[in-house]
């Protein structure tokens, strides 16, 4: 295994990150440090670069410029992927396979120990144990999102990257999501999530930042603002 590039306690350390698609800058000069057990909410209007930032952190994209280290390793190292759980806009689930088969595939790919027990535990935690043998193709949007959450957390990652995780979830799904994230927070996991709902995310987040036109326009200090204050910041910084 490759040694960390530097001795660091940061989970995420980004310096002057830049990402362009076909010469169009999507992220510009992003610098931030995320410590273990932080829960960071990323907010911003559509097209601000939230998804691109999370995809960069998930190692699905490579930065055009700048430096990104995850757990002290360069983001290009395979080792860091084992520590990351990513929930994107798409579920990454094979529609013709059942939840059990999908999770078995991902579990084998991540070399999860005691895989059968772990899958049963994950399916139960997202309330899908009764649908474990039904092909994912027949699932509703919300059920697929819940299964996708189980997939992202199957290998017990240390960094959760969640891109609008509440999209398409019913009240039961939302409470499952919140319980899972609260549990992760208690266990000292690091969470970064994008959302449009500050009020709901506020209960979980320890820090918030606003992205606008590919830059970090504002970030909170130790204390999060009230929802009313946040709306004022949001309006002022995304003008």
């Amino acid at each position: 295994m490759t040694q960390p590039t530097q001795q660091t306690s940061w989970v995420v350390e980004a310096r002057n990150l830049r990402k362009t698609f076909a010469w169009t800058p999507v992220l510009n000069d992003i610098s931030c440090r995320i410590a273990p057990a932080e829960v960071v909410g990323i907010f911003g209007p559509n097209g601000a670069g939230k998804t691109t930032l999370l995809r960069l952190l998930a190692t699905l994209l490579t930065p055009t410029a700048g430096r990104l280290t995850l757990f002290g390793f360069a983001s290009s190292e395979l080792t860091v992927r084992r520590k990351i759980g990513f929930l994107g806009h798409e579920s990454y689930l094979y529609p013709d396979l059942t939840p059990e088969e999908n999770l078995t595939f991902y579990g084998k790919a991540y070399q999860v120990p005691n895989l059968k027990d772990r899958i049963a535990q994950q399916l139960e935690s997202v309330g899908l144990q009764d649908w474990r043998t039904m092909p994912v193709r027949y699932f509703s949007r919300g059920m697929e999102q819940r299964l996708s959450l189980a997939r992202a957390l199957l290998h017990a990652p240390d960094l959760f990257l969640l891109d609008e995780p509440d999209a398409g979830l019913d009240p039961r799904g939302l409470s499952t999501l919140h319980a899972t994230l609260a549990q992760a927070k208690d266990r000292g996991k690091t969470v970064m999530l994008t959302s449009h709902d500050f009020e709901r995310s506020r209960e979980l987040c320890t820090r918030a930042l606003i992205l606008h036109r590919g830059r970090i326009a504002w970030q909170s200090d130790a204390a999060l603002p009230s929802p009313q204050e946040f709306i004022e910041f949001y309006t002022a910084y995304t003008r």
Partner: protein, 217 residues
């Protein structure tokens, strides 16, 4: 790597879409030629050889395209890239699954073609499975690499054959010549066979080394 291969085989067992459509296409191509050619032409080894490889190339193209379209649904390919698996291993898994599916198709199509063409049996025909396998290996290696490039483009159905077919020309010429020699009962382990092996080695190694760059966004 084995997890990806297991998943691809399981998906095929579940849907049975890939092998069945490949078989139908390959058999249709062969039947069209059988009806179009005269009995004298059909008995010529060169025709038989060309016929086998035309069927294989078109069925193979369909197989490779299908392999990546399955990964594009729900963006599963991104899920695959999130896993701590070396891209070279992803290449090998996709390549091996293509080899498996095309070998199944050839196992049905090749004997049937020989029977329909009414070619006489000779000892040299025992080398046919090896030659077909070498062709399938080269085709799958290059095809997997090209499909990984093409699948991210909008006109992937057009881009894949445009990229793949010209690059396949050396393989196609070598394979047709070796198969023709086999069907005629001649010596088939000469230069063309060595070209076939060289093509396999070059594109398996290239695919393994280049796949990481190809799949990077």
């Amino acid at each position: 790597m084995w997890a990806i291969l297991w998943k691809d085989l399981l998906l095929e067992l579940r849907t049975k879409e890939r092998v069945s459509s490949l078989l139908v296409l390959a058999l249709l191509i062969i039947l069209v030629f059988v009806f179009a050619l005269t009995p004298e032409q059909l008995h010529q080894p060169a025709f038989g050889s060309a016929l086998l490889w035309v069927a294989l190339v078109f069925a193979g193209m369909l197989s490779i395209q299908r392999a990546f379209i399955l990964e594009q649904e729900r963006n599963c390919f991104a899920g695959l890239l999130l896993c701590p698996i070396d891209p070279g291993q992803v290449f090998f898994a996709k390549f091996l699954s293509n080899v498996c599916f095309l070998a199944i198709v050839e196992a049905v199509v090749a004997p049937l073609t020989l029977a329909l063409l009414g070619l006489p049996f000779s000892v040299s025909l025992l080398g046919l499975p090896l030659v077909l396998l070498c062709g399938i290996v080269g085709f799958s290696a290059l095809g997997t690499l090209c499909a990984a490039i093409a699948v991210r483009t909008r006109a992937r159905e057009i881009i894949l054959p445009l990229m793949l077919l010209p690059l396949l020309v050396p393989l196609f010429i070598a394979a047709v010549n070796v198969t023709g020699a086999l069907l005629a009962g001649e010596v088939w382990t000469g230069t063309w066979f060595r070209i076939l092996i060289a093509f396999d080695v070059i594109f398996v190694v290239t695919g393994w080394l280049a796949f990481g760059f190809v799949v990077q966004e």
